[in-house]
């Protein structure tokens, strides 16, 4: 926890400098090789980026949601693949453990997560259970002091790097809904756990996903987060709610980068004898982007501050994630348009961002799921 302007400014300045000097120059290489160079990974770990949200008593920084959002505004100023590498460890992969884990579970894993020694991954999605997460089929059957896991998890971010997985599995076969689901911590290397082939994706090259397959994978019964079965879905939803504000902040950061690049190009590119930034139709694209970006930034900060105050932010988190990710898509589209032919060419990097940001509207709850969350909360409040 920082909550002091001086330390927070120093932290943001450090992250901004690292992004500017180390990450931005590596963007084309990461896209070309689909891999973040080992030296950069080591620097990210040494800086403490993996421990942003882990409490100080476990070796992390214990950032508040607002502070996390401010750091993500800075981290968003480069390819989202860099953020993705530590994003699951500071976010969805570790938060279940943090929110609902037992003291033994926390002290076993959190210190190693904070240093980046262990990378955490979040395994909820399945081939047949995406937006309808509560219908998941991965089973966990009690057998003595163990649970036996069977099933397949799909598109699992950082699975190839992960040291631990937060896995949602059905412990009660009679309950086909949310109540039958439990959250487990499963260590990589557990017999019966194997990884599928790395997925080929549209964008965010350098961020790896793959299937995680459980085939009679035996884990100690004490691996259930918090030790109580049947609470997994609730844990997952709490984790995702926080994750939505984090993703909204990244969307704001990336959109800021794109708009800055587009504005610079518009002031340098000359057509019809003048810089294209002087043309009103280009100005309209710049102005719309600026206003939407400002709205998303304010919304994200407000949701984060409310969460820090202990308010229920289910609606606000979904509003911020939905609006910021859709805004980011529009800003990326306009950036390509302002760059014109150059925007379509790989050399300028704009088309890469355009592909990268498409994911924001899909993962951690599609725009349509956010709409449902928002509307259901509205209806529930009046009925």
């Amino acid at each position: 926890m920082i909550r002091d302007a001086e330390a927070l400014n120093a932290l943001l300045a450090t992250v901004a400098r690292f992004v500017r000097e180390r990450l931005v120059p590596a963007e084309p290489l990461v896209d070309e090789t689909d891999e973040i160079p080992a030296g950069i990974v080591a620097e990210m770990k040494a800086m403490g980026l993996f421990g942003l949200t882990i409490p100080e008593e476990y070796g992390g920084l214990g950032l508040t949601m607002e502070e996390e959002v401010l750091v993500m505004f800075e981290m968003g100023q480069t390819s989202p693949a860099f953020r993705s590498l530590f994003g699951t460890t500071v976010g969805i992969g570790s938060q279940g453990l943090l929110m609902d884990g037992t003291e033994a579970q926390k002290s076993r894993y959190l210190p190693r997560l904070a240093t980046g020694e262990l990378i955490a991954s979040f395994a909820l999605t399945e081939p047949e259970a995406g937006s309808d997460a509560a219908s998941l089929r991965t089973s966990a059957t009690l057998s003595g002091a163990h649970y036996v896991l069977n099933g397949t998890k799909r598109f699992i971010t950082n699975a190839p790097h992960a040291g631990i997985f937060t896995v949602m599995a059905r412990t009660d076969p009679q309950d086909h809904g949310a109540g039958g689901v439990s959250a487990f911590i499963v260590e990589a290397g557990t017999p019966g756990l194997r990884l599928g082939k790395r997925d080929r994706k549209m964008g965010q090259r350098g961020a790896w996903t793959c299937d995680v397959i459980f085939d009679d994978c035996r884990v100690p019964a004490t691996s259930i987060i918090g030790g109580i079965p049947g609470r997994g879905f609730r844990t997952a939803m709490q984790v995702l709610e926080k994750g939505r504000i984090h993703i909204a902040a990244i969307c704001v950061g990336v959109a800021e980068r794109l708009l800055r690049d587009a504005l610079r190009y518009a002031t340098e590119r000359r057509q019809f004898g003048q810089a294209i930034a002087g043309f009103q139709l280009v100005q309209a694209m710049l102005a719309d982007s600026k206003a939407e970006l400002y709205a998303a930034r304010c919304m994200t900060l407000d949701a984060a501050q409310r969460r820090d105050r202990g308010e229920n932010v289910s609606t606000e988190a979904s509003c911020a994630k939905m609006f910021a990710s859709e805004m980011c898509g529009r800003v990326a589209d306009r950036a390509v348009q302002i760059f014109g032919g150059a925007g379509y060419m790989a050399e300028y990097g704009i088309e890469r961002f355009y592909r990268d940001v498409r994911l924001f509207r899909i993962f951690e709850g599609t725009t349509q799921i956010q709409q449902l969350v928002i509307a259901r909360n509205m209806v529930k409040a009046v009925s």
């Binding site: 920082i2 120093a10 300045a13 450090t14 400098r17 620097e43 403490g48 920084l61």
Partner: protein, 249 residues
């Protein structure tokens, strides 16, 4: 106790486009991002490496400036300095005054090495190190790009117009750091928190008894003149002709 004293100045961040105040009395600083002078960061990095090699026990950073200079001292502590001294003043102190104040700090702390950046990127005076060495009556090596410490001497390579020059000096000495001396480390984020607990002592110029009378008067501050548009020539002959016309060839 083998101590190194490092000077840290609060300056406008190097990424900021500096604007001159309309009345020509200085540059606009309101709401402008301030940072540690980049050459001072290099100076500090060198001191930390010397300590990490076991050739020093303590790195003390010092800054002379307004209350907000403590932000830069905290950054220096987060980078790894052990202790900070803040000589607080709201007046602008010219290089001779800064050197005199540092002499008092040197007398207090007894360092075997003082490292400054070769210049601060705000006024680019590049005088404090030289002035301090003279007042302290100790050797100086400016524009260092390599520094090797012996028991009682230092071998320093400095960047000069003709290339590189290597000097051996007796310690204690004053060294000023050039760009290629090292590449400063990134601050580790948890160290930013730990820096809050490191000692930072605030002093006044009166406490030190340093003479900081002004000898310089700023007449006017103005932006550099705009560069005029260049001329494109097609051949070497044309270039020679154009240069001749300007009397440059």
């Amino acid at each position: 106790m083998k101590k190194i004293l490092v000077g840290v100045k609060r300056v406008v961040d190097y990424n900021v486009r500096v604007r001159v105040k309309p009345d020509g009395t200085g540059v606009a600083l309101d709401g402008v991002k301030m940072s540690v002078n980049p050459f001072d960061e290099i100076a500090l990095e060198e001191a930390l490496r010397i300590r990490e090699r076991g050739q020093a026990n303590e790195v003390v950073v010092a800054s002379i400036g307004p209350a907000d200079s403590q932000q830069q001292l905290r950054t220096a502590l987060a980078m790894g300095a052990d202790r900070a001294l803040h000589v607080q003043t709201d007046s602008t102190i010219e290089p001779l005054g800064v050197a005199r104040a540092f002499l008092k700090l040197v007398e207090r702390e007894n360092p075997f090495l003082v490292i400054f950046g070769k210049q601060a990127i705000d006024d680019d005076n590049g005088q404090t190190g030289q002035l301090l060495a003279s007042l302290w009556d100790r050797p100086q090596v400016t524009f260092a790009s390599r520094l090797e410490l012996g028991e009682a001497t230092a071998r320093v390579t400095r960047e000069v117009d003709a290339g590189l020059e290597t000097l051996d000096v007796d310690l204690p000495a004053v060294i000023t750091a050039d760009l290629r001396l090292n590449e400063p480390r990134y601050v580790k984020l948890p160290d930013i928190m730990k820096a809050k607990k490191k000692p930072l002592e605030t002093l006044s110029l009166a406490d030190l008894g340093a003479d900081t009378r002004e000898h310089l008067r700023i007449v006017r501050v103005g932006p550099p003149s705009q560069r005029t548009k260049g001329v494109m020539v097609k051949t070497t002959e044309e270039l020679v002709e154009a240069l001749k016309k300007k009397g440059l060839f």
